[in-house]
Subunit: 236 residues, 2 copies
Amino acid sequence: MAEVRALLFDVFGTCVDWRTSVAREGEAFGRAHHVSGVDWATFADAWRARYQPQMETVRSGRRPWTNLDALHRESLEAVCRDFGMADVSAADLDDLNRAWHRLDPWPDTIEGLRRLRTKYIVAPNSNGNVALMVNMAKRAGIPWDVILGAETAQAYKPMPDAYLKNVALLGLTPPEAMMVAAHERDLAAARACGLRTGFVARPLEFGPGGRADDAPQGAWDVVAADFVDLARRLRC
Amino acid sequence: MAEVRALLFDVFGTCVDWRTSVAREGEAFGRAHHVSGVDWATFADAWRARYQPQMETVRSGRRPWTNLDALHRESLEAVCRDFGMADVSAADLDDLNRAWHRLDPWPDTIEGLRRLRTKYIVAPNSNGNVALMVNMAKRAGIPWDVILGAETAQAYKPMPDAYLKNVALLGLTPPEAMMVAAHERDLAAARACGLRTGFVARPLEFGPGGRADDAPQGAWDVVAADFVDLARRLRC
């Protein structure tokens, strides 16, 4: 653990509350477009349900590199059709698609990152694209040192390149980096690449009663209740 | 100009004083290794003189992508031989090579960037690699929103991809980005790609009496005396 120089963070669910934020953006969209009868949290869940299958079209090699904004945009058209909103203009869909650029951090995220940043390089390692991460950080005040992720590696997690290429961009070896996530699948893939691992519970990621990984099964290097607790455990 | 969303900065010479900083690092190296009779500013100039020829080996296609740390390291071996220091260990050369990670900003750089950042995305667009830029920013407190550059584009300036791929990573079009540099060759290449341009004079880049571009010939969109002046001109 003493050799860790950089902390790489999963973002959707780990740093930010995507479900509440996308539902909020959906509600504003619904009001502006006089859409009624849509449960926007259910809409957010339906949109997110297409996330892994969409990335799988790239991971499998069935199509060339396509960034997350483009994958989200395709999913959004399908979800709008499923929710009876087939007549939304392309410009309005583009704006709603950028809901993912406007996600709110969990209450402890920024304070925790500020403390962690005094000792470590802090960077996202998200499947979100660079523009999405930059716009999100700018709006929410997330103090990243550098934006890394699937787009800088040209590989979606949990492919090994998504970890190894980003660690190499920092000039580090895998044990000099720790992946921090609320998702055990992400940590297992990082550990298989030689990175250290930190688990942070986010019990409300999928809403009250949702299926979050809040009782970790793996033997991760650090397990923390939130980002401020993570900073304390890492002596920041 | 109203559509500009991001400012992309040249770094060596424009944001930081590479010559004074490398000479300082060389002096410390010389004291530690009992090297006498070396003028370290001349050493810095000799190291820098190999910068463009080294990048040209990549730009020309004569070899595959190689980042700047690796190019600097090769140059350093040659320069040490030229200065009569052929017996330096690999580990000591590695440390001296990281002098480029420890460059000091010009006195106005950080205040200017802090002000510019309130209105624009601010990012390096340097031929320096990601690790170099992250370590430099961390040490000097340079408040970048995102680290872009030759390595994220896999192309050295002034190749068009070095501008166009980085603008695309921000989800922007070329006229939504402004390249800021103390070097007219960099600005001319950016303008040919459709970016806006900002010139900042750095008359001391090459030392007193050096060959800096301090009287710009081109019709750049903005011409500023330093970064604080640039912020004022851009109404930040």
